[in-house]
């Protein structure tokens, strides 16, 4: 049977790779990403499920799924104009994607499917920084974290629990890691740009640190998340990840300017 060996959460700011490459020693993200990367490498995952949010690069108002699995042989990016990093090719894991799709449908989670992806920074910044060789295949799970109305926080947590059951029931001898991509507090393009909700960041940190996921589900309402910035619904990607780990505490957790970096070790 497959095994969930690690879950990690990191931000995906589009400038992070450039900052690490061009301004070494200047950005907190560099050291924190390195800490997460070393622990992820030590867990030796064979495949990654990445919980993330599209930023109007695959999906827009023409069709916007609340949840969508990427089931691809491979995909490329970053496709956006504002993410200066080397072009990347992500390997998919269609077999796992299809198995998760089927398992989800049979347990009450009707996930959408995309068989062609235009990858943006929300997928590629974590992968490029945490798995620089890009050799580990990935099943991206997109959740709408940007366009209200957002999916319910509890639904995301239960989705994570379903993913955990899927992994443990999957008849493959593979080590699986979950990578959550997103921030706790950030505003893009709106009037609150440049501000960080430190109180919310600190509250989220404290609930994650204590393994208090029920509190997180209750407090991370859509109005509270959006009060922390118009893309702060990306926290849902962390909530889904939290659903996969159970009520355990993280082995590592740091925050800076509305961003979290964390590791849950399950092996």
């Amino acid at each position: 049977m497959a095994k969930l060996v690690m879950a990690v959460g990191v931000p995906h700011g589009p400038m992070i790779p450039w900052q690490i490459a061009n301004e070494p020693g200047k950005h907190a993200a560099e050291g924190l990403m390195k800490d997460v990367r070393e622990q992820l490498e030590a867990a030796e995952p064979d495949v990654i499920i990445e919980t993330t949010s599209d930023h109007f690069n695959n999906f827009s108002f023409q069709h916007l799924s609340q949840f969508c699995l990427g089931i691809v042989d491979q995909a490329e990016g970053p496709v956006e104009t504002y993410c200066p990093m080397p072009p990347q090719v992500m390997k998919g894991h269609p077999e796992m994607g299809k198995a998760l799709l089927t398992y989800g449908l049979r347990s009450g989670f009707d996930l959408g499917v995309a068989q062609e992806l235009r990858l943006d920074h929300s997928v590629l910044v974590p992968l490029h920084v945490l798995t620089p060789n890009m050799e580990i295949p990935v099943v991206p799970l997109y959740t709408n974290g940007l366009v209200p109305p957002l999916p319910q926080t509890r639904r995301c947590f239960n989705l994570g629990r379903m993913i955990r059951r899927f992994v443990e029931d999957w008849d493959r001898d593979l080590r699986v890691a979950v990578v959550a991509s997103g921030v706790f507090s950030l505003e893009i393009g709106g009037p609150k740009f440049g501000t960080v909700d430190e109180e919310w960041t600190s509250a989220v940190r404290s609930m994650l640190e204590g393994g208090k996921h029920e509190s997180l589900i209750r407090r991370a309402t859509e109005p509270r998340m959006l009060a922390a910035g118009n893309v702060s619904g990306e926290l849902l990607n962390w909530v889904t990840m939290a659903g996969t780990v159970g009520e355990i505490k993280p082995k590592f957790l740091e925050t800076e300017r509305g961003r979290g970096y964390a590791v849950w070790k399950l092996d």
């Binding site: 930023h55 109007f56 690069n57 827009s60 108002f61 023409q62 496709v79 956006e80 104009t81 504002y82 235009r118 940007l146 366009v147 505003e187 893009i188 393009g189 709106g190 009037p191 740009f193 440049g194 118009n230 893309v231």
Partner: protein, 89 residues
């Protein structure tokens, strides 16, 4: 109301290089291809991003105005405008 169309113009500007080149060279003509109301057209083509924001355009897409230099919106005037500190006549 065609907030959908305004969102779509901004989506295409970022994601479709040929569309981006067209809107950067014949901006008003390109916007005219979409079914905007007169009020939406005026706000959009005068770079009144606060008005466009208040009409319901998504702020992440709205930032494509300054990212791609549409209708006089720049990195410098984007935030004064969306905060209502700089009026667009």
């Amino acid at each position: 109301m065609s907030v959908y169309s305004m969102n779509k113009i901004l989506y295409l500007t970022e994601n479709d290089a040929a569309f981006r080149q067209r809107i950067q060279t014949e901006a008003e003509a390109v916007v005219k291809e979409f079914p905007l109301t007169d009020e939406e057209f005026r706000a959009f083509t005068s770079g009144d991003i606060l008005a466009v924001f208040n009409m319901g355009v998504h702020p992440f897409l709205l930032s494509n105005f300054s990212r791609h230099g549409l209708f006089g919106v720049t990195d410098k005037n984007y935030f004064p405008r969306i905060r209502g500190e700089e009026k667009v006549s």
